[in-house]
Amino acid sequence: MADMRSDQLTVEDVQATAAMIGLPLTDADAEEVAELLSAWMPAAVALSTRMQSVQELMPASTFNTVTGLAPHELAGVKG
């Protein structure tokens, strides 16, 4: 991508990145992808930036216990 500080992707940005990952795109595809990602990117960049300041947080998406709470958190929790 030409300018990582920008939230707005150009068709050229999209085509260059697609070529890098071996994704064939027609000109019309590239135009639509650029438009869609330009709409999504501001919020994604904002979230990514916000998460940079959150340390010691591992991504996890499953639960290992009935409540999903650590043992010390279980006290007082209703079933």
Binding site: P24, L36, W40, L47, S48, V54, T62, T67, G68
Partner: protein, 472 residues
């Protein structure tokens, strides 16, 4: 016609009791559902209907006559979203990409339904590969809402929602990644459950986004969903994401009431940014719970903002990974909207994806902390009611918004955190289109949610309303 309508108006649990008692034959139930599937064919709810289900029904009836009942769903006609494998049958995922895809073995959920006595009667239409919220399917036809066929039914399990609401089955399975069970449940006026991640097996189900996918039951009431979930839930060694956690008696605890239950509203979220009819439905559901003895309080989720973006990121990147090869080999077989989403998903930076996953962990921490103060959180299922077919924008608070983002506003919270949720009918808007209210619980607390939903349904009649095709 009237006799068929009377049969099809029964809820699943009632039909199951009557079959067990020998009052109703599975042959009549399956026959009525297959006839109804034909009668509502203009809604495009089904992709395929299994005529051989009648033979299974004959065998099922013979067993009852011989005094043998397979399980709690004996003789019940059930439909499956067409991304769930049934041995020897087509599984298209609603796409021309898989138009000739015959499944070799049953998905685990199909095995479990059969083990409980259910009869699979067909496969329902969906948003292609479950990647969308409207079920606007270009290959098998746009699914149409039975309450108004000019409106969309929600998605991606739109066909399952329509089939249940229309009486073309007694219950159905959907899959829910970002809301795909709950959204069509809300928009078709039925009840749907997104179980805790890992609660129900995904083995034999075509994935959308692995870290958020789950199968869930859709039916006319909490009692029916409890019956279905009881058959589906439990550890499955075929699914590496399956949770090895004991299964509650969902049906047995339904009538325990909500006295003392702590019901939470999330500050600045649960009643924020939605159409007026939706806000009215949520407030009324909370009042009903309060009248039944629940205690209502506000909770804070400081980092709630960002959930829609995180969901868009995760729900884009993971499907693009799954479809990477196929997208290159069969580009033109994909619907335009899904192809665009899959192409875009490949271009999202990896750090955004991982930060979105870390955000999920943060959101989960905050939700689990909130469950120290409350037992159930209430909010809308989605902030609007069914829009016209083919629409891509929705008007909320006087502004037109992108529907895909708006549709994720409330369903994304359980999807991202892995928490269970139930969508219950909450009434109707000014055009008599159904509104859904969402209940979100602790991990594996489906029994609490279903108990809460059953309490609401004991005090309201929204779930008893039927669309014109069934009310006739």
């Amino acid at each position: 016609m009237k006799a068929r309508s009377q049969l099809l108006n029964m809820e699943l649990h009632t039909a199951a009791q009557r079959v067990a008692a020998g009052d109703v034959s599975p042959v009549d139930l399956v026959g009525a559902c297959l006839d109804q599937a034909v009668a509502i064919s203009d809604t495009n709810a089904y992709i395929s209907v299994f005529e051989d289900a009648l033979e299974v029904a004959e065998a099922s009836a013979a067993m009852i006559r011989a005094g043998y009942r397979i399980g709690p769903l004996h003789g019940m006609p059930i439909a499956l979203k067409d991304n769930i494998n049934v041995a020897g049958k087509l599984t298209t995922a609603g796409s021309a990409v898989l138009k000739d895809n015959i499944s070799m073995i049953d998905a685990t959920v199909v095995e479990r339904l059969r083990s409980a006595g259910a009869i699979i009667i067909g496969k329902t239409n969906l948003h292609e590969f479950a990647w969308g919220g409207t079920s606007a399917n270009v290959t098998f036809g746009f699914v149409k809402n039975p309450w108004n066929k000019g409106r969309m039914p929600g998605g991606s399990s739109g066909g399952s929602g329509v089939a249940v609401a229309s009486g073309a089955c007694f219950g159905a399975l959907g899959t829910d990644t970002g809301g795909s069970v709950r959204l069509p449940s809300a928009l078709n006026g039925i009840t749907g459950v997104r179980p805790t991640i890992g609660r129900v097996s995904n083995a034999g189900v075509i994935p959308l986004a692995w870290s958020m996918d789950t199968v869930g039951p859709m039916a006319r009431s909490a009692r029916d969903c409890a019956l279905l979930l009881g058959a589906l839930a439990g550890h499955d060694p075929r699914d590496p994401g399956s949770a090895n956690v004991g299964v509650d008696d969902y049906s047995g605890t339904l009538d325990a009431g909500v006295g003392g239950l702590r019901v939470g509203l999330i500050e600045g979220y649960s009643l924020h940014h939605m159409q007026a009819a939706v806000e009215k439905a949520v407030r009324e559901a909370v009042e009903v719970l309060q009248d039944l003895g629940a205690v209502v309080r506000e909770v804070s989720i400081p980092d709630i903002e960002g959930n829609i973006s995180a969901q868009l990121t995760v729900e884009s990147v993971e499907p693009s990974t799954y479809h990477q090869r196929s997208l290159r080999a069969k580009r033109d077989d994909y619907a335009d909207d899904v192809r665009l989403l899959l192409q875009a998903g490949e271009l999202i930076p990896a750090v955004h994806y991982v930060q979105a996953q870390r955000y999920r962990a943060l959101l989960r921490q905050q939700m689990l902390a909130a469950y120290h103060e409350v037992d159930v959180i209430v909010c809308p299922t989605l902030p609007f009611t069914a829009t016209p077919l083919g629409e891509t924008l929705v008007n909320i608070d006087g502004e037109d918004e992108d529907m895909l983002s708006a549709i994720m506003q409330f369903t994304g919270l359980p999807s991202l955190t892995g928490l269970p949720a139930v969508s219950v009918p909450g009434g109707f808007d000014q055009d008599r289109m159904p509104v859904g209210v969402q209940l979100i619980g602790r991990p594996f607390a489906e029994a609490t949610l279903l108990r809460c939903a059953a309490a609401i349904q004991s005090a309201t009649d929204h779930h008893l309303q039927r669309p014109p095709v069934l009310a006739a």
